[in-house]
Point group: C2
Chain length 464, copies 2
Amino acid sequence: MAPPFPNEPAGIHVQTAIPGPKSEALRARHARVQDARTVHFYQDATRSRGNYMVDVDGNTILDLYGHIACVPLGYNHPALLEAWRGGRFDWAAGYRPALGIAPPAEWVSIVEGALSRVAPRGLSQLVTVTTGAEAVENAIKTAFVRHARKRRGGAPPSAEDLALTMLNRQPHTNDMKVISFEGAFHGRSLGALSATRSKAIHKLDFPAFDWPVVPFPANRFPLDENTAYNAEIEARSLDAVRALLASDPQIAAVIIEPIQGEGGDRHASPAFFRSLRTLTTERELTFIVDEVQTGAGGTGRFWAHEGWDLPEPPDIVTFSKKMQLGGYYLRPELFPAEPWRIFNTFLGDPIRGAQLEVIIEVMERDDLIGNVGRTGETLVTELRGLQSRFPGVFSQARGAGTYAAIDARDPATRDAVVRGLQTLGVEAGGSGDRSIRFRPALVFEDRHVHEAIERFEHVARRLA
Amino acid sequence: MAPPFPNEPAGIHVQTAIPGPKSEALRARHARVQDARTVHFYQDATRSRGNYMVDVDGNTILDLYGHIACVPLGYNHPALLEAWRGGRFDWAAGYRPALGIAPPAEWVSIVEGALSRVAPRGLSQLVTVTTGAEAVENAIKTAFVRHARKRRGGAPPSAEDLALTMLNRQPHTNDMKVISFEGAFHGRSLGALSATRSKAIHKLDFPAFDWPVVPFPANRFPLDENTAYNAEIEARSLDAVRALLASDPQIAAVIIEPIQGEGGDRHASPAFFRSLRTLTTERELTFIVDEVQTGAGGTGRFWAHEGWDLPEPPDIVTFSKKMQLGGYYLRPELFPAEPWRIFNTFLGDPIRGAQLEVIIEVMERDDLIGNVGRTGETLVTELRGLQSRFPGVFSQARGAGTYAAIDARDPATRDAVVRGLQTLGVEAGGSGDRSIRFRPALVFEDRHVHEAIERFEHVARRLA
């Protein structure tokens, strides 16, 4: 059993509206300069603790959302604070380095002691960057380098190729493509956004590469009552991938999330992912598993794809969020032969890397992934109970670990649930058009599940 | 006068090859996991001080390169260390937030006290992100939102538009374009890379948007001996822009660096930039000034474009590097009407923002921009002396503040100079195909100029 979080608040405590008057006063100041319309409330960073956010109005709020899945150890874990205050990170305090030019010696220890320590099996190589979108951009670039090398049969680019490159008119290259899935979210920079298929408002008015999209086989829950349906949609999705691969030799990669996050907590079976791996292996295409949201323990495994029993590892696995910085693991043969092709100024952030080292130590010491597995069972069981008590409000309870979700009857009801929970001191977030997603910290325990479910019930009684 | 950097080393001290044996041992470990081919040497972060990097072999190295222009206060400035150790940043130690969802209260103070405090005149609004490429990506997206709104005449998108958006086939949108300049560097994600025109190896094998490129009017130096040439190439570049604007209504933006950094320290005149501003204003196109490398004081002004005496401000100014996090300033009317269109998970990093607040305090307290102006005069004078003493080796000395450069006679000589300087304990970097760029910290002083020039002479004598 993981030890309980030290000095965590006893429970939710609401003393004002949420957001309260102090949050609204801060929003008014903030909105003079930045877009503050998306802000739920302003957080008291120092007083927040464990699974509880404290806001500037003094409300103690149970956190199911984890800053969009970014908080591994909860708020102000003593190990992180002690490392900071005890001087363990002081070497990183005096400047921000370009990690590809003159990295501090400590960076090598972070790579070995933290990033490599949790590398997915078979993916011994690592590129670090700063965000998830940047990880996806560079993962896609890596796939394109591999595809172009194969197309040229190892020959160097011609002088004409190089000249046309400078005019954005490389022959062949502009036709290279990445397959992504309906509902996918891979980031918002223009390359990553061309693979993102979540909501029109994410993509509207932004030029996109003409890359193909195929259906995602969103399984229906409970799985044992929907076996035939799920098998059929998975077969249909694989047929769509096969048809594209057969017709377009310029497809370089397939990118997919283990569980679609932003797209609505949509799951597919391990067999489906195994088939995708086999299809891409057969054609020497790059299979990119985007674990930006699923990675680092929330699904009850460090990497969600570890549950698929793949015939061979993915080619690339991307990460960010709970990992505190972005990056991707890759197979050695995918590393570009020339230096500087995958490069940028910062290539990550040593402060965030140093914190990750502590985070991984605590995850191992306290068996937090085990904790996620146990709490996740309680959570999904309780969500199933909720939907059976409020069948007109909730359905489709599902999850892996505490990476869980439940659907509301329609988008308006979902929004009302999220707002209602906020008023009751529970921070939640939506996904897709009608789902409520759980992305709590890895220190989420049964008592927090029960506290959350009680508030869901309260809201559901009003909406039933 | 700025106070001298406290406890800075007396000067260069070389005791091994650079990189030395300890650096090479670290490289061997590092290269098992990451691409370590680009690494100059491994830095002793703690012992580096002021303008001097100390490497893991104990060499004290004068830094002209500043981690590709990222080090504002030099290494381990006491103000940064005291703020860190004194607890000023402790509120940021316990988790990494999604700044658009639940920012810590301190973030609003950072926005007001640091980021807004140095905002370019007329650009009161701010988007923060994490890197320069991400800043450029979102700046371009902002220009596209504006252009599409104008094209629709304020009407909302049609249902067909939204449906085609999800297929990456929006009518009109995929034809929207950004003009950039030969030699430009704006980042390496696929959108930013479509505007980057620096080197083929940066772009080869990566799909690009079909955006147009125009000549950059790289002025010849000394300016007073090349007046006619410079005026002619500026007129030719403006004619190329005018021709594109007249022929293609889908051009949404023009993006340009005040001084091309990666592209070879290429300068143009204030009159040229004023003309670009006027051309874009007339057509309601977005004028993006990319100050990722020039921003935050290195040119002797906080923003390089402040020296242009523009008829009205740029629409957008991007930043990163010395600012420690990425972002852009924009005019209020360019803010998208709907929330969530310009958004991502992290939207910056509060630790890097908190450090920026200290950096700006020190810049003001110690008049570091004044220091850059004074040192810059010495530096450019000394570079001119160097080229007059070694006319067969060096030419084209130029600079604004300490953002300076000199050309070697050919690419091989440039590479030999950079390698020779490294051996003598001077960290330098190239730009373009034959330039050596100066991007020292803002605490660079005359004594460092003289120490550097002496090593340049030593190298030049061998190459003359």
